[in-house]
Structure formats: C-alpha cells, structure tokens
C-alpha cells in the first residue's frame, strides 16, 4: 500500500506540472508513469495500450461527440434569437426585466447545447444590442449572461456528468435525475439574485418592457419548441427506457437537424463546420479522459483507496465537514482551472476519499459538477467571462468580473444548501431507481 506522504507528493507534483503549462494530458500521464515506475518498475506500462483502446472504445462516451454535435448544429440553426425573444415576453416584466431573460435563455440553451462557452457567445450576441438601448447597468447584464451560461453542465443532459460517470462507474441516468432539483433551484436562486438587486437598486435596471397581450405571448411559445423538443426527446427516451443515454443523444442530433431544416439554415457547409468543431472538441475531451483512465488505473493498482480511506477515517470528520473542506478546495482550484482539467485531475484522488467517508456517489457527482460550474463563473480564469467580453467589444473585462460576483455568491449558497440537504439531489433518483 502506498503511503499517504507519497500520495500527497504525487498529487502536489501533478498540480505543479499543470501550473507549468504542460498539456493537461501530459501532466496526468507523467504522474501515472512516475507512480508505476516507482512502485512496479515499469511493468504496468505495457497495459497502457489496452487501457487506451478500451477507454476510447466506450459506447457510453460516444454520447460526448453526439452532444457536442447536437450543440454545434443547434447553435448554427438560428434558434437562439427567436428563443430569446419568446422568453423575454414572459420574464421581461419582472423587476429586473430582461436580466431574467438572460438567465432563462442561457440556461435553456446551454442545457440542450451542452456548451457553456457557445451559449455565452450566442446569448451575448443576441442580447447585448437590446440592452444598450434600454440603459441597464452593464455589469449586471454581463454577469447574468455568464451565470445563465454556466448552468449548462448542471442542467441535464450535460457532458460533465458523462465524464464523471465514466470515471467513477456511476449511472448517467441517476446523475441526470439527481441534477433536476438542484438545477431548478440554482436557476431560481439566480433569478432571486436579480430580483433582489432590482428591488434594492432600481437604478441598476433599465426601462420596463411594454405589456404584451397574453395571446401573442402564447403564440410566440412556438419559438421555444425547438430546444424544448430536444430536451424532451433526451429525457423522455431515457426515462421511459426507450433508449440509452447514448441513443437518446443520437436521436437529439436528428431532431436538431430537423430544427435547422425548419429554420432554413441546414446546409452541407454548415454541417461540415459543425463536424470539424465536433471532432476538435471531442478530441480535446477524449485525450484528457483516456489518459485519466490510465491514471485512475495506476492509482487503483497502488491501493490508493485504502490509504486515503484510512487517512480520512483517522481524521474523524463528519460527511458535512468533509464536504465543506472539499467545497473550499474546489473553490480555490476553480479560480485557476477550467471544468474538465479540474474534474479529471481531482476525481481519481477525491472520489475514493468521498466514498470512504460514506458520501453518496450520485450526490457527490452533483456537488462536483456544481463546483465545476462555479469554476467557470469565478474570475479571473473562466472562458465564458472572456467570451462575453469578446462579443461586447467595449469597456473592460473587470465589468464582467464585477457582474459575476452576486451570482458567484448565489452559487456558493447553492453549494451550502446541497451539502446540508443531500435529499434534494437524491430524492428523484430514489423515486425512479429505488434506494441505492
């Protein structure tokens, strides 16, 4: 069994390699190879090939390129601007006005497109011009777009859950079910944040939207149908047992083709662009993931689970105490790291600790993805923030940073709620799948 000091040195070493700007995959691989070299004299290197093949040839992970392709087609299909307009009709008259639309439209769109970054880019492009006319406070506008876009991975279906599930051997279906209540609560908390800001400082929000007759609002709901149908296809086919998660992703791609055809944006050229983007984004994810499986295997061979389990048992922390320590750890790490490196780099070490303490793996998955979302939103490192600034083309990135602060606070509050009320996540999976 590997000693605790060795685990700490190895983990610290890996973080240093990451900070030195090596490719994330290289840093994980070097750590794995070093561990294997020291403890097994390199004999386990020969299984790397088999590990690589079996990690990459995984039907469940096929859902990753399919969800990416779905998002790439949807984003190019021109569904966003119509959808934004339709949501604005319903939420625009709340105190805080169009800011709610930012959260609502970003949340809906990033849920189906799966990419927070593309969502931030498209919603910012659609929304920013209308805010200029209406004299809202810039920071809140930018913050609300970033906050909504960051919800993408938490609202099912999301790629982060697939990555977590495959690294920890948990069920994607259960994780999606577990995420339903927390993601709704998170969206509501964001909207309450805006509501609070609008009531305390009415000067931050702009002109009120004119009243629109109910009839027109209902008619415009048609514009929401595209993304909504995709969502229903995915969730419906999985939970009725008609299709597996990967199959439902395949179905949703076909639905997205239909939406693009309906909007008259479907073309070979558009598809080819979507294909190239899909292949690139898939490759980025899969390179890291394939190597992470090898690291996982190396750590498993070293009986790291027992070492960490004994250590955690010795600390005598309660589940809640440990979750708080992890929340702080991830908050700090999230300042510097993006979602994927953060999850893939820490799950091999942190997951065994969580399990040893008796933390439910499904609950922990929701917690983990929420922490990843927080890392996207927390300045100064967070792609969504820079994308929004890039679309804005004026002012300073500091406005975006400032705008996210109330929403970061809301997310921290959500983390606290999730830590103290695990039932919020576990209720629906237990209802659907029985007690685990």
């Amino acid at each position: 069994m590997i000693s605790l000091t060795a685990v700490a040195i190895g983990f610290g070493g890996m973080i240093v390699l990451l900070f030195l700007g090596l490719h994330v995959a290289t840093a994980l691989f070097l750590t794995a190879v070093l561990a294997i070299q020291i403890y097994f004299g390199g004999s386990l290197l020969s299984v790397y090939g088999t590990q690589l093949w079996s990690a990459m040839e995984d039907y469940i992970l096929l859902s990753i390129p399919l969800y990416i392709l779905l998002g790439e087609i949807l984003v190019r299909s021109g569904a966003t601007d119509k959808m934004y307009g339709a949501i604005a009709l319903w939420l625009g008259r709340l105190p805080g006005g169009l800011l709610h639309t930012n959260v609502g439209a970003s949340a809906l769109f990033s849920a189906v497109s799966g990419s927070s970054v593309s969502t931030a880019a498209t919603i910012a492009t659609v929304a920013l011009p209308s805010f200029r006319r209406r004299k809202y406070d810039d920071r809140l506008v930018l913050g609300s777009i970033a906050a909504g876009a960051s919800l993408g991975n938490l609202i099912p279906p999301g790629i982060a859950f697939i990555v977590y599930a495959s690294l920890t051997n948990t069920s994607v279906g259960q994780l999606y079910a577990a995420a339903i209540v927390p993601s709704i609560m998170m969206t509501v908390l964001f909207m309450l944040t805006i509501l609070g800001a609008a009531l305390v400082r009415p000067d931050l929000t702009g002109e009120k939207e004119p009243r629109v007759p109910l009839r027109e609002r209902i008619v415009r709901l048609v514009d929401l149908s595209g993304p909504f149908v995709v969502f229903l296809i995915i969730m419906g086919s999985v939970y009725t047992g008609w299709a597996t998660v990967t199959e439902s992703a395949a179905l949703s791609v076909i639905a997205a083709l239909g939406i693009a055809a309906f909007n008259r944006t479907l073309s070979i050229r558009m598809l080819h662009d979507a294909f190239v983007a899909t292949a690139n984004l898939t490759a980025i994810t899969m390179l890291i993931l394939a190597v992470a499986f090898y690291l996982n295997f190396a750590l498993g061979s070293l009986n790291i689970t027992q070492t960490l389990g004994a250590f955690v048992a010795g600390l005598g922390h309660s589940t809640t105490g440990l979750m708080w320590i992890l929340a702080i750890f991830y908050f700090l790490l999230g300042i510097f790291f993006e979602t994927l490196p953060m999850m893939v780099g820490t799950v091999p070490i942190i997951f065994p600790i969580a399990i040893a303490t008796g933390i439910d793996p499904i609950w922990f998955g929701v917690f983990m993805v929420l922490q990843c979302e927080l890392s996207l939103l927390s300045p100064p490192v967070g792609m969504t923030l820079y994308v929004i600034q890039a679309v804005r083309r004026e002012g300073n990135i500091k406005d975006v940073f400032a705008g996210t602060i109330p929403f970061v606070a809301a997310m921290v509050l959500m983390t606290a709620i999730l830590i103290h009320f695990p039932q919020l996540a576990l209720w629906i999976p237990r209802l659907l799948f029985g007690p685990s």
């Binding site: 990451l18 900070f19 030195l20 700007g21 090596l22 490719h23 994330v24 995959a25 290289t26 691989f29 290197l45 020969s46 790397y48 090939g49 088999t50 690589l52 093949w53 990459m56 040839e57 039907y59 096929l62 390129p65 399919l66 392709l69 984003v75 190019r76 021109g78 934004y84 307009g85 990419s115 970054v117 593309s118 498209t122 929304a127 011009p129 086919s237 008609w242 299709a243 990967t246 395949a250 179905l251 791609v253 598809l271 080819h272 294909f275 190239v276 983007a277 292949a279 690139n280 984004l281 898939t282 490759a283 390179l287 510097f336 994927l340 490196p341 792609m383 820079y386 994308v387 679309v391």
Partner: protein, 199 residues
Amino acid sequence: MYDDRNPVARWVGPPVRWMQIACGWALMAICFATLYDIVARRLFAHSVQGVTEVGAYLLAIVSAFGFSSALLQKAHSRVDFLFPRMPPLMVSVLNLAAAVLLFGLAVISVWQGWHVLDESLLFDSRASTPLQTPMWIPQGLWFIGLAVFAGVTGACAVHAVILFVRDRGRLNELYGPLSLEGQIAVETQGTLAGVDKPV
C-alpha cells in the same frame, strides 16, 4: 482556423480537416442507424445487430483523428495562468517542454497502440459479438489516427526545438498556449454567424 504562420499546420491542416468531415458523416450515419434500431426494436421487436459496437469503435477513431487537428489549433487544454507572470525565457523553455513531452505521450501511445493492433493481427482476434468484427479493422483505423498524431506532434516538437535556438519569440507565438482570441475562435467556431440580429 489553423495558424497559417505555422508550417506544420499549413501542410497537414487540409487533409486533417477532410478526415474530420469524414468522421462527422460517420457520426451522422450512426445517429440514423440508432433511430432505425430503436424504431425496429419498439415496433417490430427486432434489433439491428452492432449499432452499439460500431458506435464504440467510431468514438475511438473520431477521437484519434481529432487529436492532430486539435493540436494544430493549439486547442489541447493547458493551464496558462502563470505564463504572463514569468520571464520570456522561462516561458520559451516551458513551451518547448510542452511540445516535446506531448510528442513523448504520442509516441508511447502509438507504440503501445501498435502492440494492441499487432496482437489482434497475430491471433486474428474477433469481437465476441454477433458481428464478430475482425478487431484489426477498427484498431487499424484507430492506430492510423494515433500515428498521424505522433507524426504531427513530432514535426511540431522538431520545429519547436529549431525555433528555441533561432527565434524564441516565434516559438512562444506558435507553440505557446492559445491566445484568448484563439480560444474563443476554437470554442465558438463559426457559431456566431447567423445570430447577429438584435431582438
């Protein structure tokens, strides 16, 4: 999308793009096969064999071919938070190290990948599924993807070494982490077209 100033990207970029487009059509095909499979299963209680199996192979192949193109776009993730706070020479050394070590990872992958393929060829392995796929077919394509990746990382590593000696500024330009504009371009490639109408 590629950096035209990089000679490796200029040469390899176009064929790699076509490989990706081929992979995209293969993904579309798997989507329609899945649709057919589900309908057949529900309505006619008969299942098309092998959609799952072929889909899994496809992921391995699509990813392996994607590695090179993502590299040419400098899209493979790196944590570059400290780079603006480091002296330029140190940044050059780290960029060189990143290029060379990634080549190392690619070489080990292709070497170990060859063992997997070689064994399948030697024993004429077949999948233990109704399709009984000869394993050398998917593994061969996967191996080619890995080999292309090793070739491209190798060319980049050599180029990076040459630049380290001759022109370190250019090394940082071509093999440094992606600039912010570049990252945005990779993540949103073309997606902003068609959505610039204000509401």
